[in-house]
């Protein structure tokens, strides 16, 4: 873990000596592996990388990354990360957070870090449950979720991380799945390359308190019919042999699933994915089976100046090296008492 991290690094170089303490079978393991594999590909330097997390199972993540790491307090990672970036804009800052951490106690910091467009990557491990505190429902839990605090089922509408991020003015929103070891690196890469706040929602299985909550979209038997993998500029196709697609319901601001070849539908009727269209993104963000497939990949990416850019610009004008002499004696409001 010592020595400058330059040259060709491997996943192992990003691994610490700390025993990983998630439950056996937890989806977090796959995500960890994927991040450790992807960072070398991004060519980042270990000493230049900081993982910041809140509290939760997900938030243990930094302990397992041999970069700089800060396991902070519940919900506040975006605020701490903002301070880190303000103090040293050259650092690569990754936030790791859970659905409770990010969307319950930390909801306000999340929307503000997105709105300000601070240049950080946010990995939101959504397992639709509070793992660390033993299984209470979270803001992403579906209505009716039975949990220790809702023995008769929850009566709240779940929030969509992606829709909220878009509503808050986020400029990069993506979604992936813990087990998608092939696709996730691509998405992490896109998030890293995006200058500004990048939100990546990762559907993550908590096999202890919410096992198989995503099986209706991740099970092998249904995956191909219920996952739509977005690619900018490509038609919104899914299903075996791209047999299905999305089109705009004629005359309405709505998306509908259609089958190629049925009712005269051809490839040409299928909408083309445009990452830069916020409205399309809002529609993709909230799609749910069975009516529609779940959108995975980069839902929205439309870069804008970052918060750091604005701050830097004002600081450059100010230069930051003025003398204490000028501070204390500046202005014309001093006088001298002779000895």
């Amino acid at each position: 873990m010592t020595g400058t991290a330059t040259g060709q690094l491997t996943a192992k170089d990003f691994t610490t000596d700390q025993e990983v303490r998630w439950c056996p079978g937890c989806g977090d393991y796959a995500i960890l592996k994927c991040v450790q594999r992807t960072l070398p590909e991004l060519g980042v330097r270990r000493e230049n990388t900081v993982f910041v997390s809140g509290i939760g199972c997900a938030a243990r993540f930094p302990y397992y990354m041999s970069t700089y790491g800060f396991h902070t307090i519940h919900g506040r990672a975006p605020a701490i990360a903002t301070g880190i970036k303000l103090a040293n804009p050259d650092l690569d800052v990754w936030i790791v957070t859970g659905d409770g951490d990010a969307l319950s106690i930390g909801g306000n910091h999340l929307i503000h870090v997105l709105r300000r467009n601070v240049d950080v990557q946010i990995l939101l491990f959504n397992n639709e449950i509070y793992g660390l505190t033993k299984g209470q429902y979270s803001p992403t839990s579906r209505r009716g979720t039975r949990s220790p605090s809702t023995p008769k089922g929850s009566v709240e509408n779940p929030i969509s991380a992606a829709a909220l991020a878009l509503g808050a003015g986020g400029r990069f929103v993506a979604r992936t799945v813990d087990t998608h070891q092939k696709r996730m690196p691509q998405i992490l890469k896109r998030a890293y390359e995006h200058r500004g706040a990048s939100l990546v929602e990762i559907l993550q299985n908590c096999n202890v308190f919410n096992d198989k909550v995503f099986s209706h979209i991740t099970d092998k038997s249904v995956a191909v019919e219920r996952q739509l993998h977005l690619e900018h500029g490509k038609p919104l196709l899914y299903g075996a042999d791209d047999s299905h697609g999305l089109r705009v319901t004629p005359g309405k601001f709505e998306l509908e699933a259609v089958t190629i070849g049925e009712n005269g539908i051809t490839q040409d009727d299928i909408l083309i994915h445009d990452e830069t269209n916020r409205t399309l993104a809002s529609l993709l963000a909230v799609m749910e089976p069975p009516a529609l497939p779940v959108a995975l990949g980069v839902i929205y990416c439309d870069p804008a100046p970052t918060y750091g850019d604005g701050v830097k610009q004002q600081e450059e004008v100010a230069d930051g090296e003025a003398s204490i002499e000028s501070l204390l004696r500046g202005g014309d409001r001093t006088w001298t008492v002779m000895g």
Binding site: M1, T2, G3, T4, A5, T16, Q18, R45, R46, E47, N48, T49, V50, V52, I55, P62, Y63, T67, Y68, G69, F70, H71, T72, I73, R76, A79, I80, A81, T82, G83, I84, L86, A87, N88, L91, N108, H109, H112, V311, E315, V317, A318, D319, G320, E321, A322, S323, I324, L327, L328, R329, G331, D332, R333, T334, W335, T336, V337, M338, G339
Partner: protein, 623 residues
């Protein structure tokens, strides 16, 4: 700028040693500016002084109401001045409401300068007078100078092509001109200030200067023709040097910048607006050129967290707020304590509880500072006692935070933040230097290995090759910083966190007696802005022959190591505080002494007389 060439002396000037003037008017009347300019000219003239700005809670309260009155009190003299004065000698009242709220405070026999032009039926009723105070015997106990200032101001600027409203806005400068004449002060700094301030609207500058001169001329003329008397307050004998006036806020901002420079760091202030702490944010927001970044966060929690993040990344994280906002930072401060990161937390205290009286002053967050965290989570607490003291306390806070890798709580007060006093600007060469050494050597690096002397852990910042490590709020192994659930380790870490803070006592000055002797019978122990009234009261009591001393504490946690012995030397310990007995609790528990409190929680500073009375009561006749 230099010198204090006073206006031509008039033969009739009465010589006085000191005077307390209160400027009072509607919030729209510009009383704060008037007071500040009078202060500036008085300081330049060479008097020691203290001020007390007191403005309404409302942004723009309805015109003419008592709750919309804005006041500015200045106390200056030819000797040392310690408080803004118990009772004004002179009241400048720009309208009936201003008269109404200040009358009770005025010294019997004191002088009232009032703008007769505003004493119409409507205003008189709004102020809550049953009848016109100019016509009944309300003003009998005072010398009253009734002037139609409104009219005279309009007259003065009538050629300047301003609207009536704009013209009337110059009233305060007319009044200022008169008062500057009355106390034989220069007008130059004010003229310069006006020209600069309104450089884009020279007609406004001109009108105000004209009014200023007219007020001054009125004094000179009336003096000859009437019973108007001018006064002379001789210069105070002060150390030579370059001076300026500063508010506590300015001194604090500059102290932080100087401290950060001494440490070789940039400042990252994370803050969220709140009365009366916001001026520090505003002040620092203007100091980008001095290596200051300011971040107005979405709330106080984000504010302190951003500052913690900044410290983690190698800047000096600072966060500022007032009571309710500091309360919100409680959890995050625990994280800074646990991860042992430097951080300066400024609490500009206001009156509480809850939202309380945001614009009123109090010193009731000592409990919150010393004890207000979950679990055993000690941190150093320092308190400023005067506006200029804010400068040094800020530097000390930065020194301790960076040397000991700890958050430091700096207590100041709404009163100190806004009050001004003259300040001898230190020589830049005399400023301290305590450069931070970030850890860079990977050899043998352990995030929680401690400096044997200070018990501080190394500051190893992201970006440094080979020092990659993880920290967090869970209990850590005492060397590696890895999570540790070990029972002995937790005991050890708890002990060492306490020992580190306690050990700072070796690195701060011994407590001095501000006034009096170790052998006196009674000691008054204070902290914060009560310095002035306590000191003044003790001096007067000593003159009356009472064996009483004054100790004023800057280092609240840890307390100076000799304080216990000092206190034990007195028969009686009295602790005046603008709270219900918070330092008192700390002293009683630390030294198991039967100290007694003298408490005032009214949103107003102590009067000297209140403390003096308390001394007299306890000491009986002079012994």
């Amino acid at each position: 700028m230099e010198g204090n060439t006073a206006a031509a002396r008039s033969p009739q000037r009465e010589v006085v040693e000191e005077v307390v003037i209160r400027f009072a008017g509607d919030s729209g009347d510009g009383m704060q500016v008037t007071g500040a300019q009078f202060t500036q000219e008085t300081a330049i003239f060479g008097n020691d002084l203290a001020t007390f700005p007191d403005f309404p809670a409302e942004i723009r309260a309805p015109v003419g109401t008592t709750f919309g009155v804005s006041a500015f009190q200045i106390h200056f003299g030819s000797h040392e001045v310690r408080t803004s004065g118990d009772a004004p000698d002179v009241l400048v009242a720009m309208n009936p409401a201003a008269l109404k709220v200040s009358l009770d405070d005025l010294k019997v026999g004191g002088m009232i300068v009032l703008d007769e032009g505003t004493f119409n039926r409507r205003n008189i009723a709004k102020a809550g007078f049953d009848s016109n105070p100019l016509e009944d015997d309300t003003l009998a106990p005072y010398q009253t100078l009734r002037l139609d200032i409104s009219k005279m101001t309009l007259e003065a600027v009538k050629d300047l092509d301003l609207s009536k409203k704009e013209s009337l806005r110059c009233k305060n400068f007319w009044t200022l001109g008169l008062m500057l004449w009355m106390y034989d002060r220069d007008r130059r700094a004010t003229v310069e200030w006006l020209n600069k301030k309104f450089s884009k609207r020279p007609e406004i500058a001109k009108a105000n200067v004209t009014a200023l001169n007219a007020g001054h001329a009125f004094g000179e003329t009336a003096e000859l023709s009437s019973n108007l008397v001018g006064f002379t307050v001789a210069k105070t004998d002060v150390a030579p040097g370059v001076y300026r006036t500063v508010t506590g806020t300015e001194a604090l901002a500059w102290g932080l910048v100087v401290g950060a420079r001494a440490a070789g760091l940039k400042i990252m202030l994370g803050s969220y607006p709140i009365t009366p702490a916001s001026p520090l944010l505003h002040n620092l927001a203007n100091l980008k050129a001095y290596g200051v970044t300011t971040f107005q966060a979405e709330d106080e929690i984000a504010a302190v967290c951003s500052a913690i993040g900044a410290s983690y990344a190698g800047a000096l994280g600072v966060t500022s707020s007032s009571g309710p906002g500091i309360a919100l930072k409680t959890e995050a401060i625990g994280l800074a304590i646990s991860t042992e990161l430097p951080l300066v937390i400024v609490n500009t205290q206001r009156a509480g509880p809850s939202t309380g009286l945001p614009t009123k002053t109090e010193q009731s967050d000592l409990y919150l500072a010393v004890y207000g965290r979950n679990a055993d989570a000690p941190l150093p607490v320092l308190a400023a006692s005067t506006p200029t003291d804010c400068f040094e306390v800020a530097i000390e806070s930065v020194r301790i935070a960076t040397k000991y890798m700890t958050p430091v709580m700096l207590l100041t007060e709404g009163y100190l933040a806004n009050a001004a006093e003259p300040w001898r600007i230190p020589d830049t060469d005399d400023l301290p230097s305590f450069p931070v050494k970030f850890r860079t050597d990977p050899e043998g690096f352990q995030p929680f290995a401690r400096n044997a002397d200070t018990l501080a852990r190394p500051w190893a910042i992201p970006g440094t090759p080979g020092l990659e490590h993880r920290i967090g709020g869970l209990e850590k192994d005492s060397v590696t910083g890895n999570i540790s659930y070990d029972a002995e380790n937790h005991q050890h870490m708890t002990d060492v966190r306490a020992a580190k803070i306690a050990g700072i006592a070796r690195d701060i000055p011994q407590q001095e007696i501000q006034c009096g002797e170790e052998t006196d019978v009674m000691v008054l122990v204070g902290w914060g802005s009560t310095f002035g009234p306590i000191n003044q009261a003790v001096r007067q009591a000593r003159e009356e022959g009472h064996s009483v001393a004054h100790i004023h504490i800057r280092y609240i946690v840890p307390l100076p190591s000799n304080l216990g012995d000092l206190l034990n030397g007195f028969d009686r310990v009295l602790v005046p505080e603008m709270n219900n007995g918070q330092l008192l609790t700390l002293l009683r528990s630390t030294y198991a002494i039967d100290a007694e409190g003298l408490n005032k929680v009214s949103g107003k500073p102590f009067r000297v007389s209140e403390i003096l009375d308390a001394i007299r009561t306890r000491m009986g006749d002079a012994s």
